[in-house]
């Protein structure tokens, strides 16, 4: 009963030999590492551990600072977007000192139009009176046709 492939018996000892030989050479090389590089390896390890500890401390403070900055940002946005209650005392004082100009009037007459048609604005009462008389003015023209 031959359940194993034939080449297994030929190859396994060779593989085991290669493995054992390679491991022995590698182990000897690791043990015979020169003192200069061994010392530098130890220094590198301590440096890595020190930097890692510093990094973790910095990371903790950075996360705390980040959370504080996020809270401040959210508070600022909320303060800008929520409606603020008006102060009635301030409003009445400012309105008393300013001339009674309606906001509607300012919107109706832009500055460029106001400068070019100042005459119309000055005679606004006259034109309003004319506007109340259309029936009287148009009656003769219809009759002439």
């Amino acid at each position: 009963m031959n359940e194993m492939p034939d080449n297994t018996f030929n190859s396994l000892p060779d593989d085991a030999d290669v493995e054992s030989r390679a491991r022995a050479i590698f182990k000897a090389a690791c043990e015979e590492a020169d003192s200069y590089h061994t010392l530098r390896l130890g220094l590198a390890r301590r440096k890595a551990l020190h930097a890692g500890a510093r990094h973790s401390t910095f990371g903790m403070w950075a996360s705390v600072a980040g959370m504080a900055a996020c809270c401040a940002l959210v508070a600022g946005v909320a303060w800008m977007h929520f409606p603020r209650p008006t102060n009635p005392g301030v409003t009445s004082a400012s309105s008393a000192s300013v001339a009674p100009v309606r906001a509607d009037d300012q919107e109706e007459v832009p500055p460029e139009i106001a400068s070019s048609q100042m005459e119309i604005v000055e005679n606004l009462d006259f034109y309003r009176w004319v506007a109340t008389q259309p029936a009287v003015a148009s009656a003769p023209s219809r009759g002439a046709r």
Binding site: E3, P5, D14, D15, V18, I25, H37, A44, A51
Partner: protein, 212 residues
Amino acid sequence: MRETKDAEPLPPSGVAMNATAAFEPIAETPTAEAVRPVAATIEAFLASVERRAWRIAEIALHDPDEALDAVQDAMLRLVRHYSAKPAEEWPPLFWGILRRRITDLQRRRTVRNRILVWTRRASNDDEDLPAWEAPDLGPEPARALASRQAHAAMSKAIRALPRRQQQAFMLRILEGLGVADTARAMGCSEGSVKTHLSRAMDALRTQLEDWR
């Protein structure tokens, strides 16, 4: 009797391989990692792994100082990002980080060499200049010399392998990671690890005599 062929994974589709390499089983020998105790702290883990990591990086990079930089970078990243993970996860994470760092350095070196060749300023400084080696102060200089020569021959043979085969061999055989941990460190499936390792063993078997 258990049939070993059933346990073998199917080869990845689209990969041409000969029958011997594809279905030759790699012995599931007890690895060194299985024997090693799990480190309690990250400092203990790094202390236990640093020499092997440096040697493996040195084999791959053929430069002890670059290998040292790669190991230090891997240590730093492990401590920074994964020190809170369970200790059982440190080995594959560390070796995965180191593998990527080594690959980055190899690619950077390839680009640098291409640029140097293109600008006709290529020099074989790395190859020609004698590497500085620490004086041998050991009690058995002959044995140490033989060991160093064997290591150099093995390193040269491993460097001649394709990159993935190098990684599979070094992680699985030299470091002794399990198949699952090796696959995690290499970022591939366990079947791919076995395939790469099988090919690496095929290539290295012929050079075993040079290591003696």
